[in-house]
């Protein structure tokens, strides 16, 4: 048998195998669109944010804090391969950061409006009482790298729900801590900076929330790879998702 014939046979076989897998429409187009805008935006926000942080890589707690004050966290400069732009330039980094901050805010607003109106958050993300009871089992499944199959794979598991809701909360937290670093916005809403414990506390929280988002992204990417990267990424591009079969 020639190589091409072998390939043709194996291709037919795999096509047949795939044909048996149920394909569902997993992600609605607003979710897919806002997901990719969000991915690009967060990447740029983290890179330009680290460049901005390099101008004064010390974090404080309270309203004020500068060289003479005791830092809450004294960091080192972030390397140029992590920052946007790669060279240290506070003015340019701020241009990137504030342009994409607007994109992030608009994108999050679109997502939240659509998701609440179409009950995506209430139906797909908000955990049910049954979900919450399944947390210990879900943790064990995740540790053992066991992924849901069949009917269970058609809905988000409880850790996924909590992670996505957590990300949403963190993004709102990023916007609020970011805004409260603006002296103009502080004059408009002085209560916000008070709630956050002061302007320097808000700056520290901005960094800690961003770190939590980076941690989310790392776990998210690992999970995508473990759950089958092609199927997962395709489902976020075209919406079509092949449900893993019980016997796989």
């Amino acid at each position: 048998m020639s190589t091409s014939a072998a390939e043709a046979v194996s291709e037919t076989a795999s096509r047949n195998a795939r044909a048996h897998r149920e394909v569902i429409h997993r992600h609605a187009w607003p979710v897919r669109l806002t997901h990719w805008i969000n991915a690009l935006t967060i990447f740029i926000m983290v890179g330009s944010g680290l460049n901005i942080l390099n101008a004064h890589p010390r974090l404080y707690w309270g309203q004020a804090g500068a060289d003479f004050d005791k830092p809450f966290l004294a960091l080192h400069s972030w390397p140029d391969w992590l920052t946007i732009p790669s060279y240290t330039d506070l003015a340019d980094a701020r241009h990137w950061h504030f342009f994409f901050a607007w994109i992030l805010v608009v994108n999050c607003a679109v997502y939240l409006t659509w998701s609440l109106a179409r009950r995506h958050i209430q139906r797909d993300l908000w955990p049910t009482a049954k979900d919450l009871r399944a947390i210990p089992r879900s943790i064990i499944d995740h540790i053992k790298l066991r992924h849901p199959k069949g009917e269970a794979a058609k809905r988000y598991n409880v850790l996924q729900r909590l992670a996505y809701l957590g990300l949403l909360t963190l993004l709102i937290g990023m916007v609020l801590t970011g805004l409260s670093m603006s002296p103009g916005f502080d004059a408009f809403a002085p209560w916000l900076v008070v709630v956050l414990g002061g302007r320097q506390s808000a700056r520290t929280l901005h960094f800690l929330f961003a770190s939590a988002i980076v941690l989310f992204i790392a776990v998210h990417l690992i999970e995508v790879v473990l759950a089958g990267p092609i199927n997962e990424v395709r489902s976020m591009i075209t919406g079509r998702y092949a449900v893993p079969r019980e016997h796989d």
Partner: protein, 267 residues
């Protein structure tokens, strides 16, 4: 199956780290984008969105938060120029700024020339506010001075006025100007009329109850509380009322603005 997915995970992880190690900036060609004038114009749109939004939110003339005396920072970090030096400034320091003049001119009906003693005789305002540097740090200080609005009313602002420009005695010559030729290193700043007329905008002469020291802008500095630190011009000699600042120095309305920083520093 688990073995395969683990291998996939490993491959994915290596591919992902490799992509990251090539550099965040390189993935998006961020450096060449930053250097492109047309991309900078796209990014600059955000500055006008922020300005328009904050002008709308602050249309009520809201005040910056004022703090208690106990909140004052024990060490208020000085930044930029610590001492303008030079024969002229040093002589004025030696004279206790007795001969320092503040000129107010430009689009005004009565140009003024005031001494520090003249200013101290005018109605004053004291406020304890937070100073936010563009670099990220903050310090709280108490300021006493003459509301700029009072001086501008005395000088009689003519119609067509849009900006107030502050000329300083310090020269920060080290840093090249962005976008073209080297602009003079003399520090200057400008604010819009809305901020100039705000009750908390002062020509300050006292800091924490004592005359301003050299590091913090003696004898006169600007306080424009709803904006960042680089707008708070020190060592002020002249206030010019203008309709346009494009012909002044580098043309962007301030020393740091000529070096790429945003003119509107409310964020």
């Amino acid at each position: 199956m688990t073995i395969i997915t683990r291998r996939q995970a490993l491959i994915g992880g290596i591919a992902g780290s490799g992509l990251l190690l090539t550099g965040c900036s390189r993935i998006f060609q961020a450096d060449s984008l930053t250097e492109s004038a047309s991309f900078q114009r796209v990014l600059a749109a955000a500055q006008s969105w922020t300005l328009a939004t904050q002008r709308l939110l602050l249309a009520g003339g809201q005040m910056a938060t004022e703090y208690k005396p106990s909140d004052i920072s024990p060490h208020f970090k000085a930044n930029g120029t610590y001492n303008p030096g030079g024969e002229y400034y040093n002589r004025n320091v030696a004279q206790g700024f007795a001969n320092w003049r503040l000129r107010i001119d430009g689009l005004v009906t009565h140009p003024l020339s005031l001494s520090v003693a003249d200013l101290r005789r005018l109605p004053a305002r004291s406020q304890i506010t937070r100073h936010d540097c563009v670099e990220g740090w903050s310090a709280i200080g108490g300021w006493t001075g003459v509301p700029l609005a009072l001086l501008l009313r005395a000088a009689g602002v003519r119609s067509g006025t849009r900006y107030v420009v502050f000329y300083c005695a310090d020269n920060l010559d080290g840093e090249p100007s962005k976008g073209g030729e080297q602009s003079p290193g003399q520090y200057y700043e400008s604010i819009g009329l809305i901020d100039a007329m705000h009750p908390q905008t002062l020509i300050a002469y006292d800091m924490n109850g004592k005359p301003l020291d050299v590091a913090h802008g003696a004898p006169l500095r600007l306080r424009v509380e709803r904006q960042l630190g680089y707008k708070q011009a020190k060592y002020i000699q002249r206030i010019q009322v203008v309709s346009d600042f494009r012909s002044i120095s580098g043309g962007h309305g301030g020393y740091w603005e000529d070096r790429g920083y945003d003119w509107y520093a409310g964020i």
